[in-house]
Amino acid sequence: MSDNAQSPPPGSDDVFVLGTNDLGGGRPRPVNDALLERFVRTPAFIVASYAVYLILLIFFWNPIEAALGFVPGGFLFGTIGILPLAGLTFVNSRTRNARTGIPFYRDLLTIQETIQLVFVAVIIGTMATLILNLNDNLAESGLTINFNVLARDFGTEVSEGPDPRADWTFLQSIPVVGETLYNVPIFTPDTYFRALAAGFANTLRVVWLSLIFSTILGVALGIGLLSNNWLVRNVSFGWVEIFRNTPLLVQLFFIYNGVIRLLPARPGDALSFPGSIFLSSRGFYYPAVLQTPTSNYFYFPLIAGAIIGIFLWRWRLQVNERTGVPAHAFRYFAASTVGLGLIGFIVAFAVGGTPVLFEPPAASGFRFEGGASLSGEYLGLFLGLVFYTSAFIADIVRAGIQSVPKGQVEASRALGLKNFQTLNFIILPQALRLAVPPLINQYLNLAKNSSLGIAIGFADLYTVANIANNQSGQTVVMFVLLMVTYLGLSLFISVIMNAFNSTLRLKSR
């Protein structure tokens, strides 16, 4: 072909024919040949140079200060802080401009880097000024920051929670919901650290149960919002609007001060429900599940059954995929769990007595003996969090389900899928994809809102930290601890939920 090609006359700019038929032949992106510039721009170099710089600065700080003759203020710190970055910018600018010949003040990159330098200098300067001020002012008030406060003696009582000094008996009874975090009514932790740990455990205690119940209630309400029953739909709507549009704190006060606290206080007068469940202004009392010598004969087979059940579940799905036989995965799972559990139960009886013993609470004088309990404060915070969060979750669920186009349901019906199958294979995967990210936000909000327990005297992390602050005056320490802990909790929840979200995306891509 190329012999046919009419080559343009040499020297012409206006016509051109590519001399070759090979249109591929891309090259890799050229790397910058200025080795120094490349090296200087690597993040590792920047971090390393900063580390060296800071170490040197700390090492020689006294002579520097002596040489300066005055104590440097924040803005000098700001300037000092950006020196390596400024040097880097300068080197970059010079090497680049040497090649292109643009004056540095007209070079886009140099301008951007300079803006950034100024910004960083201002931030470091401001932070340094504030922190120096803070340090001086605290010292002046005799409140020097001291992290050793955590080892000091915490002189006050904590009204409930797992006592970190007690045996961690809750580990023994994990299968039983009420006893998961072993709850001591009132105790005196010996150090600040233990008090704060007990507070954090209380926070977790209320957060995880509220998470579960607000999800259940929220999903139910969300489905209610979409019900084709007028009454159900509007009752759900009313519930959601009422709880969404009033402050959580008002709800907490109403539930705790207006309902729970007005219940009869004496065990004899407590509201009683079938199954030895009592409700008084002190709290919620229900039968405890006790360990017996034969418990393990029952629990271990039950857990083993569940594990085997999961494997059966996956095996059935594979069978279904291979042969088309209906999976009935849940039936297999249930059969395995219940079957092995039942065998374990019988064995336990055979070996020596019941594996599960219920101990109902009994009123005696001014308190209940035996049984398990949740304090009134716990109950108030729990109910408030569940009602408030469920209203938001309901709306998310509604929006998620409504986001699935009607045509999807119609198409699935047209293919002959049953209602359950339509929900499972068509609606849920699409709805969840939209609903999970805002759901994560609501879970984070719930965890953060648990700090409002202080308003009704629930001994959560914030309440304990507040007491600790009042006792010791170590405000900064307490603030840092609070911040780090809540950030950690938020991070933990969002990591778990994001993992769930990404598996969801993978499945339903």
Binding site: L85, Q112, I115, Q116, F119, V120, I123, L130, N133, L134, D136, N137, L138, E140, S141, S227, N228, N229, W230, L231, V232, V235, E241, I242, R244, N245, T246, P247, L248, L249, V250, Q251, F253, F254, N257, G258, V259, R261, L262, L444, K448, N449, S450, S451, L452, I454, A455, Y462, N466, N469, T475, V476, M478, F479, L482, M483, Y486, L487, S490, L491
Partner: protein, 629 residues
């Protein structure tokens, strides 16, 4: 095919006259159809309907029963001023009024200009206004509840003082308290009992009697009371008198009042009396309030309150039928609810609410006219309105705060601010202040060219969003002042505003960043291709579009901020929720009425949140946010 007539080729031809369209089956339309479709569509649905209906009737019924017959709403009524403005200096309330009026006018104008008032909202407002006027008028036609005081052998007998007009009829009756009508668990009677604060009053005696019956330590069978009850006028002249004896305790008289003025009911216990209790019941007497303005108005009309003397010559037993000295006992009837609870409340809020609505409406009409201006003046109005809102915030702050050493607008420290006014300020100022900070943070985070700027912005946003608001308020309360000086005396309210602003700014930043992300890249490119500098691209092209796209999210964030202002009550400010706590925990007589108080503030928050949400929806649909693409 072969069966068909070959020659025809036509299978069907529609008749020339089209058939009449028939009505749908009767059970699919109308009320029956609606019920079938919405409530009884299948067995499961019918069961759900019935269960929900039973629950709803039970719930609504018990709430109504409680709120009408048992609840004591006077805790709200008697503390309205505290709830609205907190402990703000009473002589300086005109400033709050000015602020409120300015805010109402601005809101009305903004609504009229940027949006339109929906008909349902308008109808609701009109209905509420009419109710506000009608309920007090109607309730005046019902007889007021009875008022009772106790006569005992060993106590002072209060002299009840009240005001009356000619022609009004007052009934005074004596009822012996015996084992039958003093049943501590039963509802012996409905009506007011005298409960003058501090003194040994009828209610405490009545409680002692009930307690005595419970523990069998009191004997109601011996009754030896002999006493006279008389109605006197302001000068002490006896108009009517009657004597109750152990043989015939239940005496009564009814008399018309001769003139406008003060009256009193006195009782004189005979020496021979040494056991037993009796009620003196007053019917047809209106109770009154003791607020400064009302007292002045009453003195103006009825003259100074007379100092009636007790039987023993002391004047310690002078008792008024003031609302604060009375407590309703027993189960309330619907009529009593209207006269005792609703009517005083409506009477108190009617004038401010009606005036406010009229002003707002006037503002709305003005806004409506401005909206119909030609282009150029409309643009200017738009700008003016925005600037007015922005200037309003600092203006309100300065006006409420006043100046130290100034006579005309004296200094009112923010520690004296409170109630709904403080809640609104704590909402408004952070909204205005967090907006620019949020925009800058969003731009900082979105700008991936400037790595450090974006990292620092991200860090701030994520930390502020990752910790509870209360932690930030903790910081603002306890650490913030130490940044400035060791003995810093910045007031708590501004510190809380800083905390709320920083917190909200982080959320606003994320919302705006979300808006920036959905602006198509082509918008920036087109602007770049036109040669617009980066600042103008952001200011004129991307930011306006981004903000318009996220108005609903922003509004719901601001609603959330409004709700979150309640948290400042934990750190010690008396905004709406804080002042309620102060009322129910600080004033002994209101302690049992926490439910009523919290329910009331709940309703206030609910109404305002809902209003904000509906404004956001209207903005989205009709106003500045309406999609013009």
């Amino acid at each position: 095919m072969t069966d068909q007539p070959v020659n025809s080729g036509i299978e069907y031809v529609a008749p020339k006259e089209p058939p009449q369209s028939r009505k749908p089956p009767a059970n699919t339309v109308g009320v029956v159809g609606w019920l079938r479709e919405n409530l009884f569509d299948g067995v499961g649905n019918s069961i759900a309907t019935i269960l929900t209906a039973i629950f709803l009737i039970w719930f609504a019924g018990s709430v109504m029963d409680w709120s009408i017959r048992t609840a004591e709403w006077t805790v709200v009524n008697n503390n309205l001023r505290l709830l609205m403005v907190g402990p703000y200096d009473q002589d300086e309330l005109w400033r709050v009024t000015i602020m409120a009026v300015a805010m109402i006018v601005l809101s009305g104008m903004s609504l009229g200009f940027w949006s339109e008032i929906a008909r349902p909202v308008f109808v609701t407002i009109v209905v509420v206004m009419v109710l506000l006027v009608i309920v007090p008028v109607v309730s005046d036609r019902f007889p007021p509840p009875s008022i009772r005081t106790i006569v005992s052998s060993d106590g002072d007998v209060p002299a009840m003082r009240f005001v009356g007009n000619p022609g009004e009829r007052v009934t005074v009756a004596v009822e012996q308290i015996n084992a039958e009508n003093a049943d501590p668990d039963g509802n012996a009677f409905n009506g007011f009992i005298e409960t003058t604060p501090g003194a040994s009053n009828s209610r405490s005696i009545w409680n002692d009697i009930k307690q005595g019956i419970r523990t069998d330590s009191i004997d109601l069978d011996t009754y030896t009371l002999t006493f006279t009850v008389s109605l006197v006028d302001a000068s002490g002249e006896v108009l009517e008198t009657v004597t109750s004896t152990p043989d015939e305790p239940g005496v009564t008289f009814e008399t018309p009042l001769p003139e406008t003025g003060w009256y009193g009911v006195l009782a004189e216990v005979d020496e021979s009396s040494d056991a037993g209790f009796a009620w003196i019941r007053l019917d047809g007497v209106e109770t009154y309030t003791t607020r400064t303005a009302d007292v002045e108005a009453r003195t103006e009309r009825y003259g100074e309150q007379p100092a009636l003397t007790c039987a023993d010559g002391s004047d310690a037993c002078n008792t008024e039928v003031a609302q604060r000295a009375l407590r309703y006992e027993g189960q309330r009837s619907g009529f009593d609810y209207l006269t005792v609870q609703l009517s005083p409340f409506f009477r108190d809020i009617a004038i401010p609410l009606i005036v406010g609505t009229v002003i707002a409406f006037a503002g709305g009409v003005l806004g409506w006219f401005l909206k119909r201006l030609p282009r150029e003046p409309k643009r200017i109005t738009n700008l003016t309105l925005l600037v007015a809102w922005l200037l309003f915030m600092p203006f309100a702050f300065v006006l409420l705060r006043g100046f130290e050493g100034s006579e005309a607008v004296s200094y009112v420290p923010t520690t004296d601010w409170g109630g709904l006014a403080l809640t609104l300020i704590l909402t408004a100022i952070p909204i205005v202040a967090s907006f620019p900070i949020g925009i800058l943070l969003a731009l900082g985070r979105a700008n991936k060219d400037l790595v450090m700027v974006s990292t620092i912005s991200t860090l701030f946003i994520e930390v502020a969003r990752g910790v509870p608001l209360i932690t930030i308020l903790f910081f603002a309360k306890l650490i913030l002042p130490f940044f400035i000086s060791a003995s810093s005396n910045i007031e708590l309210a501004p510190r809380m505003m800083v905390g709320l602003t920083l917190f909200t700014a982080a959320y606003v930043a994320e919302i705006i960043r979300g808006g920036l992300q959905i602006i198509p890249k082509g918008q920036t490119e087109a602007a770049q291709a036109l040669g617009l500098p980066a600042f103008y691209i952001t200011w004129l092209i991307t930011m306006p579009q981004a903000i318009r796209a996220v108005i609903p999210a922003l509004m719901s964030q601001f609603v959330s901020l409004f709700k979150d202002t309640t948290l400042v009550s934990i750190v010690g400010l008396f905004e709406l929720l804080g002042i309620v706590e102060l009322i129910v925990n600080g004033q002994q007589q209101y302690r049992p009425f926490q439910r009523e108080a919290y329910l009331f503030v709940g309703v206030v928050y609910f109404v305002i949140s809902l209003a904000m949400a509906s404004i956001s929806r209207r903005l989205e649909n009709t106003g500045v946010g309406a999609a013009r693409r």
